[in-house]
C-alpha cells in the first residue's frame, strides 16, 4: 500500500506542474475531457452528499457492515471536496487525479470489508464493480486533462543501489549532494525555512536559477519537491525509495518535469536536456549509484571531458590543459562525504 501512496505523491507533485502549464500558457484541454470532468464533478457531489447524510443506506446498498458509517461519512466529505475542486479550477486535472486516489482508497476499503463477519459479499462485489468502472473513467479523464497541452520536459528512471533505503534517502535529502551526480546542476543550496535555491548550468556559461520547496518528505520512502510559483523555471521532481526484495538494497525511482518558459531561459533549459532527457536522468542515476556504492563518480579517460556522450575524447591520458577544463576530477574533491565513510564501514 505504501508504494501506491508514494506513486500518488509522485503523480500529484508532477502533474500539478503540468496542469498549471496547460491551463495558463499552452492552451486548454479538449472540450470532451472537460465535459467528462464536469460529469464526474456532479457525481462526486451527489455521492458525497448521500454518504454524508445517509451513511446507513449506503452501507446497505454496498453490503458493508453498518458499524462503518463513520468511515462512510468521512469518504463523503472527501467526495464533496473533490467535486468542489473540479468546479473551481480552470483545468481540473489535479482534482480528477485526486478522485483516482480516492477510488483506490474505496477499492481497498471494500476489499477489507469483505473480511468482516457481517459483510454481504454479493453486494460488495457489485459495489466494487461499480467503483472499478468509475475508476476507469476517472483515469481516462485525468490523463486527457494532463496531456492536453504542451508536455514540457519529462523523465523517469530507476536504479538499484546496494545500500539501505534510509542511507540512500539521507544522501538524497541533503540537496547539496544532488550536483555531485546530476550533470546539469551546478549547485543546490538549502535554507532553514525549507526552501532551496537551485542553479543549473545553461549553454555558453549561462546559469538558470530557481527556488524550490519540499512538497512531501517521508524519511526512507519518498521526497517530492517543486519550484515556487514565481520562479523562472517551472520544475517538479519526486524520488521514491523501496526495499529491494531479498535484502538487495534499495530501488530508487525518480520522476521529474521541467516546463521551460518561453524565451532565452526556456531555450537554455531545453538545450540542457537535448533530445534525450530520460537518457540523461538514467546516467545521473548511474552516477548516483556510483557515489553511494564506491564513494565517487567513476571516470574513464574518454568521459572526463564534455557531456560524456558523442563527444568522447580518446582513451588516453589527458594533458594539463584538458585536466583544467574538466568540470570535476573526482580525486580532487574532498573526501569527507558520508557515503565515502559508509563505503569504508561496508568493506
Amino acid at each position: 500500500m505504501s508504494t501506491r501512496e508514494n506513486n500518488d505523491e509522485t503523480n500529484r507533485a508532477v502533474s500539478h506542474k503540468s496542469n498549471k502549464q496547460n491551463g495558463t500558457q499552452h492552451g486548454l484541454p479538449s472540450g470532451n475531457a472537460k465535459r467528462l470532468a464536469a460529469g464526474l464533478g456532479w457525481f462526486s457531489v451527489g455521492l458525497g452528499l448521500a454518504e454524508l447524510l445517509a451513511p446507513k443506506a449506503i452501507a446497505r446498498i454496498t453490503g458493508v457492515s453498518e458499524k462503518r458509517t463513520g468511515l462512510i461519512q468521512l469518504y463523503g466529505l472527501r467526495e464533496l471536496a473533490a467535486g468542489v475542486a473540479i468546479f473551481s479550477q480552470k483545468n481540473p486535472a489535479e482534482a480528477v487525479w485526486s478522485r483516482v486516489a480516492g477510488d483506490v482508497l474505496d477499492l481497498t476499503s471494500l476489499s477489507l470489508a469483505c473480511l468482516s463477519p457481517d459483510a454481504k459479499r454479493g453486494r460488495i462485489t457489485f459495489a466494487t464493480a461499480n467503483v472499478l468502472a468509475v475508476t476507469a473513467l476517472d483515469v481516462m479523464c485525468a490523463r486527457q486533462l494532463s496531456n492536453g497541452g504542451h508536455k514540457g520536459i519529462q523523465a523517469k528512471a530507476a536504479c538499484i543501489v546496494n545500500r539501505e533505503p534510509d542511507q540512500v534517502y539521507a544522501f538524497w535529502r541533503d540537496f547539496r549532494n544532488l550536483s555531485r551526480f546530476m550533470k546539469h546542476l551546478e549547485s543546490v543550496e538549502e535554507f532553514a525555512d525549507g526552501r532551496s535555491h537551485w542553479i543549473a548550468k545553461g549553454p555558453a556559461g549561462m546559469k538558470v536559477e530557481w527556488d524550490a520547496v519540499i512538497v512531501a518528505d517521508e524519511p526512507g520512502k519518498v521526497i517530492t519537491w517543486r519550484s515556487l510559483e514565481n520562479s523562472d523555471v517551472d520544475h517538479a521532481g519526486a524520488v521514491q525509495f523501496q526495499h529491494a526484495p531479498g535484502g538487495r538494497g534499495t530501488i530508487v525511482k525518480v520522476n521529474f518535469q521541467y516546463n521551460p518558459p518561453i524565451g532565452v531561459v526556456g531555450a537554455a533549459v531545453a538545450k540542457l536536456f537535448g533530445e534525450e532527457p530520460e537518457q540523461q536522468l538514467d546516467d545521473d542515476l548511474r552516477r548516483f549509484k556510483q557515489v553511494m556504492e564506491v564513494g565517487e563518480v567513476v571516470v574513464s579517460e574518454a568521459t572526463l571531458l564534455g557531456n560524456g556522450y558523442m563527444d568522447q575524447r580518446p582513451g588516453r591520458p589527458p594533458d594539463a590543459s584538458e585536466l583544467e577544463q574538466a568540470e570535476s576530477v573526482p580525486s580532487q574533491i574532498p573526501t569527507n562525504y558520508e557515503s565515502t565513510e559508509g563505503r569504508a564501514n561496508q568493506r
Binding site: 538499484i160 546496494n162 538487495r248 538494497g249 537518457q279 538514467d282 546516467d283 548511474r286 549509484k289 556510483q290 556504492e293 564506491v294 564513494g295 565517487e296 567513476v298 571516470v299 574513464s300 579517460e301 574518454a302 568521459t303 572526463l304 560524456g308 556522450y309 568522447q312 575524447r313 580518446p314 582513451g315 588516453r316 591520458p317 589527458p318 594533458d319 594539463a320 585536466l323 576530477v329 573526482p330 580525486s331 573526501t335 565515502t340 563505503r343 561496508q346 568493506r347
Partner: protein, 399 residues
Amino acid sequence: MKANCWYGKTVMRVEEVPDPQILNQRDAIVKISSTAICGSDLHLYNGFIPTMVKGDILGHEFMGEVVEVGKQVTNLAVGDRVVVPFPIACGNCFFCKSELFSLCENSNPNAWMAEKMFGHSPAGLFGYSHLTGGYAGGQAEYARVPFADVGPIKVPDHLTDEQVLFLSDIFPTGYMGAEMCNVKGGDTIAIWGCGPVGQFSIRSAFLLGADRVIAIDEVPARLKMAEEGGAETINFREQNVYETLMDMTGGRGPDACIDDVGMEAHAPGILFAYDRVKQAILLESDRPHALREAIMCCRNGGTVSVIGVYGGFIDKFPMGSVMNRSLTIKTGQAHVQRYLKPLLNLIENGDIDPSFVVTHTMSLDDAPRGYDMFKKKEDGCIKIVLKPDANGNGHASVH
C-alpha cells in the same frame, strides 16, 4: 610516455602521449614492465568492434610496478610488483559481491552505449573500445588502474614476468572456459581454437580432471603446442571435425565443448563464405562457425562453454539442437579477480608454467609490426610480449 594507439582498421602507431594521473581516489599508476597482445585485440585491430576512437591506447594484459596510489588505496604501496586483471571492478556492487567481477555495475562510465548494444552493460575493460568505458589500455609505459584496491594482485619476485603476466587475462580466461564445463573424471573435452586462450583451456581441463582433451585448429604451430599440452588434435582443413569427433568418442560426442575462438572464426567451404559475406555487408556482426559446430558435436545433455569473444549478432544458430538435446550453454568474460589467488598458487606450486605460450618478445616500439605478425600468424607466432623499456629494432626475439 610511449603508447600503442589505434588509428583505424589495421593502423596502429606508437606515439608520445601525456603520462597518466590519478583521476579517482581508488586509482593507482603502474609502470609497466611487460604487456601482451591478446587475440581479442585483433578484433579491434581488424575493425570488428564498434565505438573505437582514433588515438585510443590498446592493451589489457599488463603488469608492472606501482609508482603512485590514490588516497583510498590502502592495500598497495609504491614499489609493489603487481599483475592487473583486464576487467575493471569496484568490489562493492551486487555483482562484485557475487564474484561476477566482469559484470561490475559501476566501472563502465559509458554503460549507456553497452545498454543499447547488449540490453545491459558489463564491466569496464582496459583499452577495449568505448562501449566498455573508453579506458586507456596497457600497451604503454604507464597505466592508470582504477579500483586498484580490488583488482591488482601482488606477485613474488622469484617468478618471472612471463610466468605471471597471463594472470591478467588468458590464463584465467582459459581456466574459466574449462571450469564452466563442470569437468568430472572420465570426461572428454573438445576445444575449438588453439590460440593462447585455447592452450590454457587445454591445460586447465587436465588440471580439473578431464581424461581426454581434443583440440581443433588449422595452424600447425598451434596444434603442436596443443599436443605438447597433452591434447589430441584435429586439423579442420584436413579432417571433417564432426565425423572425426564422433569416430573418436564412439558416436556419443564430447562431454563438453569449449569455444575458444569467438567472432572471427575460420572454416572450410561455403559456410565460411556465407558468414564472411554477411559480416562484410553488416547483416551479421560475428562469424559463429566454431560455436555452431561445438553445439552440433556436443553429446546429449552436455555443456557448451563459450569463452571466445562475441560482439553482436549471429545467425543460423542451431537452437533446435540445443533445446532438444538438453544442452547447457555457459558464457562470460572471465571474472579474473576471483581466479588470481588460486591460479597464482598453481604457478607457485609448479603445476603449470604459463611462460610456455610466449613465442615472441618485442619492444613496445615495434607493437604495430607485432599486430601484423600475430594477425598473419607468421613465424609460428602464438603470443607476443611487449617490453616498454626495450629499444625497438624491428625484430622480435623468438623463443
